[in-house]
């Protein structure tokens, strides 16, 4: 409030982009401009310096991992920062076949594929009903879903382990899919409820007047309209489920059913005994690169998807 008061229209005109032109700008604001010009240059150097240092700190560990994945075990231990003598691709093939990276990838794709589809379908169904229909208990159900976002998952995992055991869902991929869906619902419902509220109701009413049932209106009219929201929340859930570590660590402990993140940890433990560090690094990089590549390609959508929830 007070900040708006300090920007009277008279001052606003000269400097603002929509102002009256460069000549006026120079004449009216010459003094403060000049003083802060040198300040601006120093600041510019300083800020570039700081920003570059952090960029290097982010990239170096990743580049180091890529480099290490092409080295021999001996070179890894004697000179960690030296370039590989040649590209040892055999590390990669060893990781892919012997270290079961291919199985981990397949399991992850199956689990994430199934749970992403289920999350989006069930999440949008619940969100649509909660956003657009009045019925007793609406608010209660909404807050029941939302509450799941701030509760520590580990608390529920102890009984959940035994619930899954009793239903013979423990150590199965379909059991993991159901759990992923259930734990993705709070954010998905929260996000999509807000999204469905912003959609105009006139289109749905028109479809309804034309004789479409509620179900048909939802699938043929509302879902296509909600596509941008579905993409955002879909990317958010995809990354969350692809990178999930806690849930599979507790609920999916059979070696051949493991997903990528826990498989790598398992690999780190077993390679520790075998001493195959280069193979492990190859596995790490193998798991890292597809996600990073996808991020660089769909950069805009990924950032929008991941930050959308926090802004709301």
């Amino acid at each position: 409030m007070k900040t708006t008061d300090t920007a009277p229209t008279g001052v606003e005109t000269p400097g603002s982009p929509g102002g009256s032109g460069p000549v006026v700008t120079k004449a009216t604001v010459a003094t403060p401009r000049k003083r802060s010009k040198s300040e601006g240059a120093t600041l510019n150097v300083f800020s570039h310096g700081v920003l570059i240092i952090w960029a290097i700190m982010v990239v170096m560990p990743l580049l180091w991992a890529v480099m290490t994945s092409f080295k021999t075990d001996k070179a890894i231990f004697t000179s960690p920062w030296a370039l590989p003598d040649k590209l040892h691709f055999e590390n990669w093939s060893r990781a892919w076949t012997e270290a079961h990276m291919s199985d981990y990838f397949l399991n992850t794709i199956l689990v994430v594929g199934g749970s992403l589809f289920g999350t989006l379908l069930l999440g949008s169904m619940a969100a649509y009903v909660l956003a657009r229909f009045d019925f007793p208990g609406n608010r209660f159900i909404y807050f029941l879903f939302i509450g799941g976002m701030s509760f520590p998952i580990i608390l529920a995992l102890v009984p959940l382990f035994y619930v899954m055991q009793n239903m013979a869902l423990l150590n199965t991929l379909h059991g993991l899919i159901l759990v992923y869906i259930a734990y993705s619902l709070p954010f998905t419902v929260f996000f999509l409820t807000a999204f469905f509220r912003t959609l105009p109701s006139s289109v749905a009413e028109a479809a309804f007047v034309d004789g479409a049932s509620h179900t048909r209106t939802f699938f043929q009219v509302m879902l296509p309209m909600a596509k941008p929201g579905l993409i955002s929340v879909g990317i958010f859930n995809f990354l969350g489920q692809w990178n999930q570590y806690l849930l599979p660590t507790v609920l999916n402990t059979e070696p051949e059913k493991k997903v990528l993140s826990q498989g790598l940890v398992q690999l780190a433990v077993s390679q520790g005994y075998k001493g195959d560090w280069s193979g492990l690094f190859a596995g790490l990089v193998m798991a890292m690169l597809p996600v990073l590549a996808a991020y660089i390609i769909f950069q805009r959508q990924v950032v929008a998807g991941l930050t959308a929830g926090a802004v709301k």
Partner: protein
């Protein structure tokens, strides 16, 4: 739109609600109930023991250690991460050389920085933890060999093996992996603050640092506050579990002499290693209370008049 409305509502809500109730709500309720029993998790029989688990917890040294560490995470990590992210975001948006007609300018290549900073956010925390476990390796890790390279051959800390350093090492990894997300988040918020505010302030003779505290921060307050809570929940929950469980192996997990153990890891150990499911849920309830208290404190301290612009 009354025709068949309730049938439709029930039909659409049944599946998601059933799944959610069975796998999320019901286990939560059960775990609070179990915390008053002597259930081991191994046999189906158990009896009620009242507050025994809770009084045992209050006398448990390892519990207090993990409580203290989790509390440190919840206080220090949001402070460092949000602080660094605000600093970087401000540099990105205001640190540039001024161009004609604009009072403030973003640095050149700011979108490049944002892309790079966001890298860790798309990686699994498990991968990040493994990577840093190797970087911290005292004999052949990346960090110690850099120290050797710059002539600090005598300074070769044991990092994760040193009880005094291990916790800090783990926290650095969490900061490294989350700062980029908040930089991008805050940067988007800063970009939406009208430029005339800065112009007016600069004309009035304010310097950049005054503009940060008087303009940027107040107008960004809602985002900062929700970022703070988000980071705190992350630092108390699954993320801290993953880094500590993966990076600090030790004889029992949780670092040398329990120097890095955190509440979620202690819950996990009690339930799935020691066969003390009831006691594990008691620690879990304590973690729940810490999380709720954290959120309440941040909301209370952060309450300000909302600024519209």
């Amino acid at each position: 739109m009354q025709h068949g409305k309730y049938r439709f509502i029930v039909g659409f809500l049944a599946a998601p609600l059933a799944l959610y109730a069975l796998f999320v709500v019901w286990p939560f309720i059960q775990s609070i109930y179990y915390s008053f029993t002597d259930w081991t998790g191994l046999s189906p029989e158990f009896g009620m023991v009242g507050f025994d688990n809770y009084s045992r917890m209050l006398d448990d040294e390892v519990f207090w250690k993990s409580f203290q560490h989790s509390l440190t995470f919840a206080v220090v990590l949001p402070l460092v991460t949000v602080g660094l992210a605000l600093f970087f975001a401000f540099m990105l948006n205001v640190g540039g050389r001024r161009r004609r007609g604009a009072a403030i300018a973003g640095v050149r290549g700011s979108s490049f920085y944002k892309i790079v900073y966001f890298f860790p956010q798309v990686l699994s925390i498990a991968i990040v933890a493994l990577l840093f476990q190797f970087a911290y390796n005292p004999n052949s890790g990346a960090i110690n060999s850099v120290l050797k390279g710059v002539g600090l051959g005598s300074v070769q800390p044991d990092w994760l093996g040193d009880p005094d350093l291990a916790l800090i090492c783990v926290m650095i990894v969490l900061v490294w992996s989350t700062v980029g997300f908040f930089v991008v988040l805050f940067s988007a918020g800063m970009a939406s603050i009208p430029r005339d505010f800065y112009e007016a302030a600069l004309l009035d003779g304010a310097n950049r640092f005054t503009t940060f505290f008087k303009i940027t921060l107040p107008l960004l307050w809602d985002t900062v506050q929700s970022g703070w809570i988000y980071m705190g929940i992350l630092a108390l929950g699954a993320e801290s579990f993953a880094v500590v469980q993966i990076m600090t192996v030790g004889p029992s997990g949780g670092g040398p002499d329990y120097s890095t153990i955190v509440l979620p890891l202690y819950v996990y150990q009690k339930a799935f290693r020691d066969g003390q499911a009831a006691y594990a849920t008691t620690i879990g309830v304590a973690l729940l209370l810490v999380t709720l208290a954290f959120a309440a404190v941040v909301m209370k301290l952060g309450r300000r008049e909302r600024l519209e612009f």
